[in-house]
């Protein structure tokens, strides 16, 4: 050890300043005023996903080729990735930070790959996943996405679930509303088969309350779930709306999608700008007729998803913007022969935030037509709902878990929210199931994570190459005369290239940057990540700065 320095002479010293011990003696952690902490945050995609899918995780697993675990990861939040991978409007991609860099990650294509992989490889492995029915009996009214999702999560926990469907086949709007070129029937059937494997019973051709009343159900089942959707087409409120040849979009799609014969003319007008309108037009086109969409605002305000609009345009469907119907022109036999329209201009924004269309006086014109399909929006068929159930102006009133005012009666999907999306319906079904599990099995309700959502500015994009999004292959236009699926799906190579684009916002994926850059070797590698050695970490923040994905947070020392 050191002697009293005054006794030390030159010959006692080393040739230069050399420490007497290793540098480990110097616990530089005491210098720290900021403390780095490994702290995973919420990627914006997950935050934006109505079902809260752990998107980063399944993309990460896909990168490693671990598709099965990726598939299982999705199932925790959404039982039907093959459906949403095809039809979801993917708000996750709108939120994706990569959008600010080059192009967002094609999350729904990845989801579809994993969903299809699951159906082909995972589900087939387990011929049945049926659980012993240990719990109460449950009835689900309506076999749309909300009901299916609710049934899935309860059947998994041993509840005996029966789904009632008024049509001949289950699936609700997934079957009747979405054309097969977007969602093939086989895919839907396979997804529904998952429920059958779990022991869920389907009773089709049964209409509520015509065939089964509320009291009937209450005697047979302990828990009820309403997932009856919103399928009442809104009226145009123009003269001759009831003429022969004016069809409702939802009904038209239902007949077409169930493969029934349908009578339409040679010249078809579709009124509306939502997905129903575009679906109708693309179906009409496939039936070999001339079709034009009329929309009262511009393309920018059009609520249909951009992919659908693009698809319609590719297929040669005309879209007239800033046009509204005034009057259906009819023959003496009250058959449609045309539509009187008026041109519109955009005024100030309305309650939806979109600019209000205003008719331009004297700009009326007529379009010849023998069929008019109105698809200007749907609403909930409130009249079929039991009188005892409390409602809002647009549907069933529930709390955030889907519980209605009536004991053991829950609801979800469009019949609660009004017309919304498949993924929101799936999410509401899951949340209602979680509520039941909480009440019946004491399972804790999942808490909303109060973590920071990672913004683009938080990322260190130095570490990412600009690379375009991998385009989904489509069948050629000449093959789009049938209901064959348009999108071909990613192959494994495309999947790998696309998944590698993921920033993994806010979530450590063990890239080793912190480990490499730490000037004090204070980052220790563990099997499942890293650990700071706070004895030596000076809190310089290089790790946090060089972390490409903001998985490290710097806290003022003492604040944690």
């Amino acid at each position: 050890m050191l002697r009293n320095f005054k006794e030390m002479r030159i010959e006692d010293y080393p040739v230069c300043a050399i420490s007497l011990d290793t540098t480990l003696l110097n616990k530089t952690g005491t210098w720290r005023i900021f403390r780095p902490v490994y702290e995973n945050k919420i990627p914006p995609c997950r935050d934006a996903c109505p079902a809260g899918e752990d998107i980063q995780k399944y993309i990460y697993l896909s990168q490693k080729g671990n598709y099965e675990e990726g598939y299982q990861t999705i199932l925790k939040n959404n039982p039907f990735p093959s459906i949403t991978g095809r039809v979801c409007f993917h708000p996750c991609e709108d939120a994706c930070n990569r959008r600010e860099y080059d192009e967002p990650i094609a999350i729904h294509h990845i989801e579809r790959f994993l969903g299809d992989y699951g159906l082909e490889k995972v589900e087939k492995k387990n011929p049945t996943r049926r659980k012993a029915e240990t719990e109460k009996k449950v009835a689900v009214i309506g076999s749309g996405p909300a009901g299916l999702s609710f049934a899935y999560y309860l059947a998994q926990e041993g509840f005996g679930v029966t789904i009632l469907e008024k049509e001949s086949l289950p699936g609700g709007l997934l079957r009747t509303g979405i054309p097969a070129y977007r969602l093939p029937k086989e895919v839907l059937d396979k997804e529904i088969r998952k429920l059958e494997k779990l022991g869920v019973k389907f009773i089709t051709n049964t209409t509520f309350p015509k065939n089964l009343s509320l009291s009937d159900l209450k005697t047979k089942y302990h828990i009820l779930f309403f997932g009856t959707g919103a399928q009442k087409e809104r009226k145009l409120e123009v003269p001759n709306e009831d003429a022969d040849g004016v069809l409702e979009g939802i009904s038209f799609l239902k007949i077409a999608n169930l493969g029934k014969r349908i009578k339409i003319g040679k010249k078809v007008l579709v009124i509306g700008g939502g997905n129903t309108a575009v679906d109708c037009a693309r179906v009409v086109k496939r039936l070999g007729k001339d079709v034009t969409i009329l929309y009262r605002r511009t393309k920018e305000e059009m609520p249909a998803s951009p992919e659908e609009i693009e698809g319609a345009e590719e297929e040669g469907i005309k879209i007239f913007y800033l046009v509204a119907p005034v009057k259906v022109l009819i023959s003496r036999q009250r058959k449609v022969k045309g539509l009187e329209c008026i041109r519109m201009k955009l005024g100030t924004p309305d309650s939806s935030g979109r600019r209000r269309p205003i008719p331009i006086k004297g700009s009326n014109f007529t379009l010849p037509a023998d069929t008019i399909i109105k698809a200007i929006g749907e609403s909930v068929e409130l009249e079929i709902l039991p009188k005892e159930i409390e409602r809002t102006n647009w549907g069933i009133k529930t709390d955030s878990t889907g519980m209605t005012n009536l004991k053991n009666i829950l609801a979800g999907g469009d019949c609660v929210t009004g017309p919304q999306t498949v993924v929101k319906a799936i999410a509401s079904g899951r949340r209602a199931a979680e509520r039941v599990l909480w009440e019946m099995k004491n399972k804790e309700l999942p808490k909303e994570e109060k973590k920071e959502i990672v913004s683009f500015a938080r990322l260190n994009t130095f570490y990412f190459e600009k690379r375009p999004r991998v385009k989904m292959s489509k069948i050629p236009l000449r093959e789009r005369k049938t209901f064959k699926e348009i999108n071909l799906g990613y192959n494994e190579e495309e999947l790998l290239i696309e998944t590698e684009r993921c920033f993994s916002c806010g979530i450590c994926n063990q890239c080793d940057n912190c480990y490499i850059f730490c000037p004090d070797l204070a980052v220790k590698k563990k099997e499942d990540g890293y650990k700071f050695d706070y004895d030596y970490c000076k809190g310089c923040g290089v790790c946090a700065q060089e972390c490409p994905r903001y998985a490290i947070t710097m806290y003022p020392e003492g604040e944690l």
């Binding site: 002479r9 010293y13 040739v15 230069c16 300043a17 420490s19």
Partner: protein, 392 residues
């Protein structure tokens, strides 16, 4: 390239390549350098030696001279023989790391080609770049010929490793660096016998982990600094011994200083670098005319062989220092050094200072003759520095 074709022969080589051959023969193990005119050829040839396997050294490309010296520091502290070469701004950029090399007592050899500092940009020679590093604590050796460059390079490793101080071998830009002269290149065996492998006395040892150059309190710093000063005193003896041993083996020696016709000289010129060669010619001529003029070449600038210098110069009535450098606001740097040696001497001959040849302007024999004439005429200098050849 074959070793037996390029060594053990007399070759016509530039000063730069003389350095390269010296480093090859010294078996440097790590070379880190950044190119700069007029030094680049040194490391160019060395990189070829490394690429062809003639020299088993790690050649580290770096992004600056600061990094070049940092890499040498790292290499040297791990216990291997390290070399770098630079010039002018490059040396200036290396400055901080030079202190490191000295403070950590690392025997790194640096070849510096004397080039004037910019701006105005110059690639031509003067000594201000190396003299700006006077106080970092490196040994400095100024060379007169390409043969001396090669021999000094080899000697430098031996001196450095004996006293644990970095050594700067200095040669004039273009006058030596790019000028070819016949040079005796020894064989590797001969050099091996003279210069054994480096045996580090302190180095990074993973079995005995220690940190080098850490925080040193006022209680200890001075003593460790004093060791550097003692090493410099030691270096005076070591450099002399190494030169003598070299002479014994290779037949060539240079001394720390070299007096030329000084025994009976009334006036002695003091020079360094290539001006010495020019001055020799002038002295020969003046001597033929019977003028008692001599020449003292300073080879070892740091540590300064003060006693030897004093002993020679005390014989003269007057001294004329020729400085290819300037310390602005004062005078020529060699002149200051020589004057300081005499302050406490029993006799103080008048010392004239001539500043000449800055930025590579030719120093001709006429200029030196004029200097001699001037000093013979004057009893004592009327100004601190005479700016020779400047167009005022």
């Amino acid at each position: 390239m074959k070793l037996n074709e390029i060594t053990g022969v007399k070759k016509v080589v530039t000063g730069n390549h003389a350095v390269s051959y010296g480093v090859l023969l010294a078996r440097a193990q790590v070379i880190a350098a950044y190119p700069i005119t007029p030094q680049t050829q040194i490391v160019e040839l060395l990189s070829e030696f490394c690429a062809t396997g003639l020299l088993k050294a790690k050649f580290i490309k770096v992004e600056s001279e600061h990094s070049a010296m940092a890499a040498c520091v790292g290499a040297s502290i791990s216990g291997v023989r390290a070399f770098t070469a630079t010039s002018a701004q490059g040396l200036a950029l290396m400055h901080e790391m030079l202190h490191w090399a000295v403070g950590a007592r690392l025997p790194i050899v640096v070849a510096n080609v004397n080039r004037a500092m910019g701006p105005g940009w110059s690639v031509w020679t003067d000594q201000n770049d190396s003299l700006s590093q006077r106080d970092v604590g490196m040994i400095q050796l100024y060379c007169e010929s390409n043969q001396e460059v090669l021999d000094t390079t080899i000697q430098s490793f031996k001196i450095a490793e004996k006293v644990l101080l970095p050594v700067m071998v200095i040669l004039d830009a273009f006058v030596l660096s790019h000028t070819s002269e016949p040079v005796d290149i020894p064989t590797l065996e001969e050099v091996d016998a003279f210069l054994p492998p480096y045996q580090p006395r302190h180095y990074l040892d993973i079995n005995n982990p220690q940190a080098f150059g850490g925080l040193t309190s006022p209680d200890h710093y001075y003593e460790i600094r004093m060791k550097i000063e003692i090493a410099h005193q030691e270096a005076l003896k070591v450099a002399k011994k190494v030169d003598e041993e070299f002479k014994e083996r290779f037949g060539r020696g240079y001394g720390l200083i070299e007096p030329y016709y000084c025994d009976d000289a009334k006036v002695i010129l003091v020079t360094s670098g290539t001006i010495t060669g020019t001055a020799r010619e002038v002295i020969d001529e003046e001597r033929r005319k019977g003028r008692k003029v001599g020449l003292l070449k300073i080879r070892l600038f740091r540590p300064t062989p003060k006693d030897e210098i004093k002993e020679v110069l005390l014989r003269a009535d007057k001294i004329a220092v020729i400085d290819r450098n300037i310390s602005f606001g004062h005078s020529g740097i060699f002149a200051q050094e020589i004057k300081s040696i005499f302050y406490n001497a029993y006799r103080k001959p008048p010392i004239f200072d001539f500043i000449i040849g800055l930025g590579g302007r030719d120093v001709r024999s006429e200029d030196i003759k004029e200097i001699i004439d001037y000093v013979f005429k004057k009893d004592y200098p009327t100004e601190d520095a005479i700016f020779k050849g400047v167009r005022l």
